[in-house]
């Protein structure tokens, strides 16, 4: 048993945990911006995949990872604008529109990948982001290797947490966005453009979901596969609820999920416990369901979530 523990809890494990958490933090915070404005963006799973695909393609042909990230974010924004057109401008059901956007984005990702790369026997790959150490900080024992020898995108994801907390709770823009998600009529009568705010929330969500997809193909793996997202987007929807629509708590949820995921990876690799590997793969999801049932009982979603805004109605 001691052997397993020491195998698990060493520095490399915690560094991996932060890395695994990164795409969850990015996409969860993205989803949070959309939901705070009153739109549930169920396009997340497909937008992440399409972002991953377009980011990979751009990086492959331009040889620039950052151009790839940019392309992924723009793709995400584009699909989010479509989501906005359906749910904000047309006022359609957010559930149906979101699933539609996911299906469409997934289809686009598959279609364009096949169109561009065909069906190669070995998938094309790119040179992934390498960890960048931050001088001085990286030399702190324990903390340094865990937090300060990560890929640049991870630093950005970690900085995003306080930044979005600041934006949401300390700026006029954030107050407007939150109000649009709580009571759009109040926002409207205070001269806030409800549709514009919702589009902005969605565009931020799309960009961050795209970035999360890009992270998966440019840091975690170095190639695009059709299963690259494999339900991570849906987990982020749950993490927003777990985090009670707050950036800090949502990021904590992402870390918790990553912890369990990292743990199951180690357990799979360890020979000490003999179970089918699917049992380990299942663990994070089972735990998500359990924590969700416990936490979401008291969850209070933004009051106007899922409700289209029409000026004349109340």
């Amino acid at each position: 048993m001691d052997e397993i523990l020491s195998q698990i809890f060493h520095i490399g494990f915690f560094a991996a945990l932060i890395r695994i958490a990164t795409p969850f933090i990015l996409a969860t915070i993205g989803e949070l911006f959309a939901e705070r404005s009153g739109v549930l963006n169920l396009g997340i799973e497909g937008i992440m995949l399409f972002g991953a695909m377009s980011g990979f393609t751009m990086a492959y042909f331009s040889n620039s990872l950052w151009l790839g990230v940019l392309a992924a974010m723009l793709t995400g924004m584009l699909m989010a604008i479509l989501m906005g057109f359906l749910t904000v401008s047309l006022g359609l059901s957010q559930h149906v529109s979101g699933i539609g956007v996911t299906l469409l984005s997934t289809g686009f990702a598959f279609f364009f990948y096949r169109l561009i790369f065909g069906q190669p026997s070995t998938p094309p790959n790119i040179k992934a982001f390498t960890p960048v150490g931050i001088p001085v900080l990286m030399d702190i024992p324990w903390v340094g290797p865990v937090l300060f020898q990560q890929a640049a995108l991870t630093y950005l994801a970690l900085l995003l947490v306080p930044l979005s907390a600041f934006l949401l709770f300390q700026t006029p823009w954030g107050l407007n966005l939150r109000t649009v998600g709580e009571n759009p009529h109040a926002a409207d009568s205070a001269g806030v453009n409800v549709s514009a705010m919702r589009y902005q929330g969605l565009m931020i969500s799309g960009a961050l979901m795209g970035a999360a997809g890009a992270f998966l193909v440019m840091v975690q793996f170095n190639a695009f596969t059709f299963g690259v997202i494999s339900g991570r987007g849906w987990v982020c929807i749950a993490l927003v609820v777990f985090g009670q629509w707050g950036p800090w708590k949502s990021a904590a949820g992402a870390l918790l999920f990553a912890l369990i995921d990292a743990l199951q990876l180690r357990l799979q690799a360890s020979s000490a416990i003999n179970l089918p590997y699917q049992v380990f793969l299942m663990m994070p999801f089972v735990l998500t369901i359990v924590t969700m049932t416990l936490v979401s009982r008291n969850a209070r979603a933004p009051s106007a979530l899922l409700k289209p805004f029409r000026k004349e109605e109340r």
Partner: protein, 504 residues
């Protein structure tokens, strides 16, 4: 008076929605320091006119000037910019945010951040100036309705409003809170603001305004320069176009108790608890139930209707104890019900009228047999009700939701009265109705009372309670806080009891 002396002038305003002329050639003038009463029944065009001023609608014709300057108002943002503030009947607040957050909404910040200190200072200043005080860090959902309304007024002052529109502001207030509102409004007018006060309550007009514009059918029918110099009767005549006599209340014979509650308590999370409520109502009487909303009246109504099972206590109908009450059981016992919210719990707005009309009677042999609806009988019944109650609907097939508020209420009333209820439970039966429609409802209640039924009237409108009730019971924090016979009761006494003071 030239326009440049005026704070606001609206001239020749016309607005139509399809074939309906909501405003026809309306003129409205407002001076600084005015409290202008805008009086009219529902559908008279008051709210449309104010929505044009606030930028929600665009006028088809006409001009608006503010302080002599012709202006175009395309949105509420424009209106706010021009110094027009509006307190809507349904508050535009965010219940989960703090007072301060609601005040800072839509305002520019300072250096990219919310200007918390600035907002705090302004709030304190307004508190000192006009006596409008609020705790900046309170969560809005924890404020009383009166405090929430104060916040709406402060919101307008925050934006340096010169013109303040209040849409039926007293509809939700206790008499004491109304008094507070009136004195605040006087202070604001003395400070040079112009206030437009929309109402259909006559005594308020005489109490607080210094000029009255009366509207009917979309046009201005009268302008009264000194409201205190005219009687309520003549104001009513200007408003309705004909004389309105309050319904005659005969002395009726008090009969056997029909419904008796003893020691009723409820414990439903997130709703006010009822605590040991005793109540009895006899045939031939109207029991009025007063109280500020949220003090257990709704729960009491739900218990009587069989929706909410009490955790303790006994319900007796005509001397028989009811166990395991359910809405259907209560209906079978001839307890009719006019729910508070006719649009959601009363009728089904998306169904045709004939479906809404038979919802509670669906199992009645007249309307269904062996589980199959008898549509012909249902339509005939609906047609009969339409003509008997004068419901303005093209026919039984019309979608319920297209009826106006007054007609929806008539439909509900028709439905409940159709099978001669012995007890009628009516919650806020005239809320949002105009004088004529409310009068119709009141007369029906009195007819029913004379016929020997018992009526439980839950209302926040004290005038209504005093016109109809034989006894008034006050609810406060889930308890019966006191009860008075109509002969001994006064608005002041009941108002104090509603606010929690012990009965004198």
């Amino acid at each position: 008076m030239s326009d440049s002396d005026l704070l606001l002038s609206m001239r020749g305003v016309c607005k139509s929605f399809g074939v309906v002329q909501a405003n026809q050639q309306v003129d409205l003038l407002l001076k600084a320091g005015d409290i202008l009463g805008l009086l009219g029944e529902n559908g008279a065009g008051k709210t449309t006119l104010m929505n044009i001023l606030f930028g929600t609608y665009q006028a088809d014709q006409g001009s608006i000037s503010i302080q002599g300057q012709p202006v175009e108002i395309h949105s509420s943002a424009d209106a706010l910019e021009l110094g027009v503030g509006m307190v809507h009947q349904h508050f535009h607040l965010v219940p989960r945010h703090t007072v301060l957050e609601n005040l800072m909404l839509g305002r520019p910040g300072k250096g990219g951040r919310l200007d918390q200190t600035g907002a705090r200072d302004r709030l304190e200043e307004i508190g000192k100036h006009y006596g409008l005080k609020l705790n900046p860090d309170a969560i809005v959902s924890e404020l009383t309705i009166g405090e929430q309304q104060r916040l709406e007024i402060i919101k307008a002052l925050f934006r340096k409003a010169k013109i303040l529109i209040l849409d039926e502001p007293t509809a939700v207030l206790t008499p004491k809170e109304s008094e507070g509102l009136f004195s605040a409004l006087r202070a604001l007018a003395d400070g040079g603001m112009g206030i437009i006060f929309i109402t259909h309550k006559l005594y308020e007009v005489r109490e607080v305004t210094n000029r009255v514009v009366v509207m009917r059918g979309g046009a201005v029918t009268a302008v009264v320069e000194d409201p205190r110099a005219v009687t309520e009767g003549s104001l009513a005549q200007m408003m309705c176009g004909h004389e309105l006599t309050p319904p005659e209340k005969t002395t009726s014979q008090l009969r056997d108790p029909l419904l008796k509650l003893s020691g009723i308590s409820t414990r439903i999370p997130n709703r006010p608890f009822l605590k040991d409520v005793d109540m009895v109502v006899h045939g031939g009487e109207i029991l009025g139930i007063a109280g500020v909303s949220g003090n257990g009246q709704r729960e009491l109504a739900d218990v009587i209707a069989g929706i909410l099972p009490p955790s303790e206590g006994k319900i007796e109908v005509k001397g028989n104890t009811i166990t395991q009450s359910s809405p259907r059981k209560m209906q079978k016992l001839k307890i009719g019900r006019i729910p508070e919210d006719r649009m959601t719990t009363g009728l089904v707005t998306t169904l045709p009228l004939f479906s809404s009309m038979v919802l509670p009677w669906i199992n009645h042999p007249n309307f269904s047999r062996l589980g199959i609806l008898r549509l012909k009988a249902i339509r005939e019944f609906t047609e009969a009700m339409i003509s008997r109650f004068g419901i303005r609907a093209i026919g039984p097939e019309v979608r319920t939701g297209t009826l106006s508020g007054g007609n929806l209420q008539k439909a509900l009333l028709a439905r409940e009265l159709a099978f001669d209820p012995e007890v009628l439970l009516a919650s806020q039966p005239t809320r949002g109705l105009d004088v004529a429609a409310a009068d119709f409802v009141h007369r029906k209640f009195l007819e029913l009372r004379e016929a020997g039924a018992a009526i439980i009237l839950i209302s926040e409108d004290l005038e209504e309670l005093f016109t109809l009730s034989d006894r008034i019971m006050v609810m406060y924090e889930g308890c019966v806080h006191g009860e008075q016979n109509i002969a001994d009761a006064s608005v002041e006494k009941i108002g104090l009891m509603m606010a929690g003071a012990e009965a004198a």
